[in-house]
């Protein structure tokens, strides 16, 4: 616990009882959370859960009906310039002018954030290098592929070196290679910043985030460490493949195994208690009894299951 407290960075974003309605619909309903330095916070939720609305409010594009947002110590309503200077925002559609070149677009954005000429040039170089845009600086944005535009959008959000990044579905439209690069980039950026990103993709959260938040119908139904989330309702299991399988009963007798599921073709799923690690026992028995083990894979109770439970389940947790 002590170690955990020491590791907690400074608070970058503080959201208190944020509320926003569109007509009669409460898109965001009294949500509160904190983002610290070094955290990559994944926002999960179905379409219309209020993720984008929350992010738009964080970026100052949309005014909240009630609640407070403090960014890097500055209140978004009282000191908008200071607060906005501390945030880099990438909306779900990157805000780019098709008729400009990448360099022109980035230059414009840097000037909007108050960078002077020399700072502009350096910021441009750095952001382009970060996002792999060095070769396309002189190309028209209108002619770029979706993946590149996404990168330009991210470069734009990074330009003024903000301590907080708010990224609304940053990986939509990327090919698998770019996806990996983007995740790597976000992880790197998250080390000395605070990053909030929204997504529908669960693997994405597992791959990039340190923390996760799940929204359902405008409310926050889960918020915490990813490790916490994994531990939650974990009836973890082990999948094994054997060329010479013993009877199911003898598998069930292995220490720590609660239940055995037969998957066919010599594959079994061994259910065990969370925290128990029966793999060693399984391995030893497999060797001793000549089961000819060819596969052993730990399977976590998927984030997906938790996600589905939380977003569709009856009671908010």
């Amino acid at each position: 616990m002590l170690v955990k407290n020491v590791m907690k960075g400074e608070v970058l974003v503080q959201v208190e009882r944020l509320t926003r309605s569109y007509g009669d619909i409460r898109a965001v309903d009294e949500i509160s959370f904190t983002l610290r330095k070094g955290q990559v916070l994944g926002f999960l939720g179905l379409n219309g859960a209020g993720k984008s609305t929350t992010m738009r409010m964080l970026a100052g594009v949309l005014a909240p009906d009630a609640g407070r947002i403090t960014i890097n110590g500055a209140d978004l309503l009282d000191q908008p310039s200071q607060a906005k200077q501390a945030i880099g925002y990438l909306p779900d559609q990157p805000p780019l002018y098709r008729e400009l070149t990448v360099d022109e677009q980035l230059h414009y954005s840097a000037r909007l954030h108050g960078l002077d000429r020399t700072a502009c040039r350096q910021a441009l170089l750095r952001a382009k290098e970060h996002c792999g845009l060095v070769d396309v600086g002189r190309r028209l944005i209108g002619n770029l592929s979706k993946g590149y535009r996404q990168r330009v959008g991210l470069a734009q959000a990074l330009l003024h070196d903000p301590p907080v990044l708010v990224l609304d579905e940053p990986t939509v439209g990327l090919d698998p290679m770019q996806l990996r690069e983007m995740r790597e980039l976000i992880r790197t950026l998250g080390r000395d910043r605070g990053v909030i990103l929204s997504t529908h993709l669960l693997p994405e959260v597992q791959a990039t985030c340190t923390h996760a938040q799940i929204m359902r119908a405008g409310r926050l139904v889960f918020s915490g460490d990813l490790a916490d989330l994994e531990r939650r309702r974990c009836s973890t299991h082990l999948r094994i493949g054997l060329n010479a399988p013993p009877p199911v009963a003898s598998l069930a007798q292995l220490p720590g195994i609660i239940r055995v599921e037969e998957l066919g073709h010599g594959r079994f799923r061994l259910h065990h208690a969370p925290g128990a690690a029966p793999h060693q026992a399984v391995l030893e028995r497999a060797c001793a009894d000549g089961w000819d083990l060819w596969e052993i894979t730990p399977e976590h109770a998927g984030l997906e299951q938790i996600f589905v439970d939380l977003t569709l389940g009856e009671a908010p947790v």
Binding site: A59, G60, L62, Y89, Q93, L100, R111, G114
Partner: protein, 250 residues
């Protein structure tokens, strides 16, 4: 930061074929009218020489040219202003401006200045035509400047109204039609003869060309200039308010 927005706006104009087409069409049509006016003036010259206090080349060529130019601006400015804010809303680039540390006033002023700089270049090109007459004829520069001032103020008013209407929609064409309607109404509003004295003078005061005509005659009346400045200020103010409002409503 205002100037960053102005510069981008200006660049946007010159990168789009629309702006170049507008420049070419205006210049072409006005050149034709200018030639006709000069021709008429040459025919009249003999008879004018016999008159005392005869109208000069400024009154007979420059003033009518500027009058036609005002009509053209009335038709064309809505096409120029229609995409100023509506396009940014449609493509989502407005988010960049709203999330940057830039106030609504700076956004609106930056865009307004960008459009005005473009229109100023158009007006400068128009002014070159009567100025060319200085080679061979005595020009009344006072009148010419008053007329130019009128044309710029008129363009400024059109632009402010067009900018205001373009913040209301995500469809540029809608903004263009609405601004054209509004401007035309303000152009002909004094045609309504109500027979009621105060109402008539009010309509006359509201009408855009009344104040312009005085300037074309070389009458520099501060009331006319203030009318245009007020007109511009009101519409820019409304645009800024509307932009602030949008964060609340959107």
């Amino acid at each position: 930061m205002i100037f960053a927005i102005t510069a981008r706006e200006l660049r946007g104009f010159f990168l789009s074929p629309l702006a170049w087409t507008l420049l070419a069409v205006v210049q072409g049509l006005l050149a034709w009218i200018f030639l006709v006016l000069v021709d008429d003036f040459r025919d009249l010259q003999g008879r004018l020489a016999a008159l005392d206090n005869a109208p000069g080349v400024t009154d007979l060529v420059a003033a009518p040219l500027f009058r036609v130019a005002a009509w053209m601006l009335l038709l064309l400015v809505p096409l120029l202003t229609m995409r100023l804010l509506s396009e940014e809303r449609r493509t989502g680039t407005l988010d960049l401006l709203l999330s940057a540390p830039v106030g609504s006033a700076a956004i609106v002023l930056g865009k307004y200045l960008g459009a005005m700089l473009f229109l100023s270049s158009m007006i400068a090109l128009i002014a070159l035509m009567p100025l060319a007459l200085a080679i061979g004829a005595p020009l009344d520069f006072g009148k010419l400047l008053a007329g130019l001032l009128g044309l710029i103020l008129l363009a400024g008013s059109f632009t402010a109204a067009g900018l205001y209407l373009s913040v209301h929609t995500t469809q540029p064409v809608l903004a263009a039609v609405a601004s054209f309607g509004l401007l035309l109404l303000l152009w002909i509003v004094d045609a309504a003869g109500t027979g009621h004295k105060t109402a008539d003078s009010l309509f006359a005061y509201l009408s855009l060309p009344r104040h312009y005509d005085a300037l074309l005659l070389g009458l520099f009346n501060s009331a006319d200039v203030i009318y245009y400045l007020l007109f511009i200020a009101v519409f820019l103010g409304l645009t800024i308010r509307r932009l602030d409002d949008m964060r609340l409503r959107a």
